[in-house]
Amino acid sequence: MNSSALTMMLVTEITVACITIYFFYKILKTPPKKEPDSFSENDAEK
């Protein structure tokens, strides 16, 4: 691959991957809100 294509690809893909992972990490780490919330699966855990 030529250097401009490689740079373009790596910069874009690493940026997009990092942002995606960051938001997913934040979603998974954020504690759920108090019941009643929007989700039924955690209702029994109250």
């Binding site: 490689l6 690809m9 991957a17 989700f39």
Partner: protein, 526 residues
């Protein structure tokens, strides 16, 4: 009264379902072709700018509109829009949010059924030992309905979609997303690895797979100031995020008002971006260039990525030989199937939400009504595919309607509902700090960009209305049989156009009936 007691099972399930709604066949077939045709690696610059200035703002707007509507028990756009302003006409603008889903599902389910059929043919070795022309001819025979197989797979696909929808949000849609999205990522990663590590001389390849990547990512910065490239980027953002359809509002309407939408919107939106940019660019073009060379691929992609995906890739996978060839076929069409079904399920929920909310229908009845309507509307796209009916649906419902609806909804949200109230809706319960710059982007930049996209599309719309492309073909044709075929195509195209208009009017009539019913029952309207 509404029978709508739907709820999401989990937050991850909601995000995967929303990402599945966005991730479709276009992520793998349309994006790489758009990139090739619009400046290669440089295309990513207008693409990301449009994502930031149009995609993300519209995601915030649609998620918050949905959650706002859900507070008052509205799960489809007619009455979500109605609840945001006193003027009565907004509910008829909201008709687009049901019409688009019905009309797109009508042809999209047929496309989805091809992927199911191609998985089957990959497993049974139908493409084994065939030449490239024979595989392409198989596709031609398939869409010409030379056997009943396309109808059978289409019906299987429709019944499967309807059955999953009848199981509800958490019991059906969310379960499919939780299985389908991880599998899609795994399948995509395996195929991308195989494509990128393809070596010239191995399995009959003439080039390295990286030559395809090089071709796709080499930036041609001279194109960056071309309006055509920006229009292509804006169009791709529309297609890829499923904005302007009404399905995001519907999914978000089942989120309670104190729960987050801002972070959820970013999670789903960027996941779609990851699939499109990282995986979408690394499969079809590297393999195609590896076997066919750049010139042939450029020629083949002039008509879009569909032909490359269905007519050429099965032949190329066969060159891998044996189990690897079969595995790649199953992974590729399996991936497309998961991308397709998670999107088509999202198209069913607004229509079901409307029937449940307004007419008190049970979920199962609403799902089967949706399935039956899609069967009816989709039949012309299956039977008359070769006469351009499929493309006509795609143009009006899958392209023009999205832009029109998005333009109206951003005006409603930012200028009628009011940006201060709108900003409060976006940030209430947010698990992240939404950059305040988006308040101004939503108010000023996004409407202008949408207006620019719409105005730029007007000459094309006018040309489509006048059937200029077909007329030109008729004028250029000399063979009487071809002229006759084109005239028949013109007839079918006009009939399907009138049909789509009638569908819009029928949905508008149902909205009118629902409105009268609400008044009679003393239920909330604006």
């Amino acid at each position: 009264m509404s029978n709508n007691k739907e709820a999401w099972g989990s937050r991850v399930g909601l995000i995967l379902a929303m990402a599945g709604n966005a991730v479709g066949l276009g992520n793998f077939l349309r994006f790489p072709v758009q990139a090739i045709q619009n400046g290669g690696g440089a295309f990513i610059i207008p693409y990301l700018v449009c994502f930031l200035l149009m995609g993300i703002p519209l995601l915030y707007v649609e998620w918050s509109m949905g959650r706002f509507g859900g507070k008052n028990g509205h799960h489809s756009t007619p009455f979500i829009l109605d609840s945001m302003d006193k003027r009565k006409f907004w509910k008829y603008i909201g008709v687009f949010g049901i019409f688009t889903n019905l009309a797109v599902a009508a042809y999209y389910c047929y496309l989805e059924s091809w992927t199911l059929s191609w998985v089957w043919h990959s497993v049974t070795g139908s493409f084994s030992g065939q030449t490239q022309a024979e595989v392409a001819s198989f596709f031609g025979s398939y869409i010409s309905l030379e056997t009943l197989e396309p109808i059978v797979f289409w019906l299987i696909c429709l019944v499967l979609n309807t059955w999953i929808l009848s199981r509800g949000l958490s019991g059906g849609v969310e379960k499919v997303a939780k299985i389908g999205m991880p599998l899609l990522l795994i399948f995509g990663a395996i195929l991308a690895f195989i494509a990128v590590t393809l070596k010239a001389g191995e399995h009959g390849a003439i080039n390295d797979g990286t030559m395809g990547l090089n071709f796709l990512w080499t930036p041609d910065f001279s194109t960056i100031w071309t309006p055509k490239v920006w229009l292509a980027a804006a169009g791709q953002i529309f297609f890829t995020l499923s904005i302007g359809m009404g399905s995001i509002q519907c999914y978000a309407s089942y989120v309670r008002s104190k729960d987050d939408i801002a972070l959820n919107a970013m999670g789903a939106g960027w996941m779609n971006g990851f699939v499109e940019i990282v995986l979408g660019s690394a499969i079809i073009i590297p393999i195609a260039v590896g076997y066919l060379g750049i010139d042939t691929v450029v020629e083949m992609t002039k008509n879009g990525g569909l032909g490359l995906g269905f007519k050429t890739l099965p032949y190329l996978f066969d060159q891998f030989g044996g189990a690897l060839g079969i595995m790649c076929g199953v992974l590729w069409f399996g991936l497309l199937f998961f991308a397709g079904i998670t999107s088509s399920l999202a198209m069913g929920t607004p229509c079901m939400g409307f029937l449940q909310d307004e007419f008190g229908w049970k979920r199962e009845k609403a799902a089967w009504a949706f399935g039956a309507t899609v069967l009816l509307l989709g039949l012309p796209t299956v039977l008359f595919f070769n006469y351009g009916v499929f493309d006509e649906y795609d143009y009006w419902a899958g392209t023009v309607s999205l832009v029109v609806f998005a333009l109206f909804e951003i005006i409603l949200f930012a200028w009628v509902f009011g940006m201060d109230k709108g900003w409060k809706e976006i940030t209430t319960g947010a698990d992240m700090k939404v950059p305040v710059v988006f308040k101004y982007i939503i108010k000023f930049v996004t409407p202008l960009m949408l207006a620019w996209v719409f105005i730029s599309s007007l000459p094309g719309i006018w040309s489509q209305i006048k059937n200029e492309a077909i007329d030109k073909q008729i004028l250029a044709a000399t063979d009487p049989a071809v002229i006759e075929q084109l005239k028949t195509q013109l007839l079918y195209v006009n009939i399907s156009r009138v049909g789509l208009l009638l569908v819009w009017l029928a949905v508008a009539y149902l909205v009118y009936v629902a409105y009268k019913k609400r008044i009679k029952e003393g239920r909330f309207t604006s």
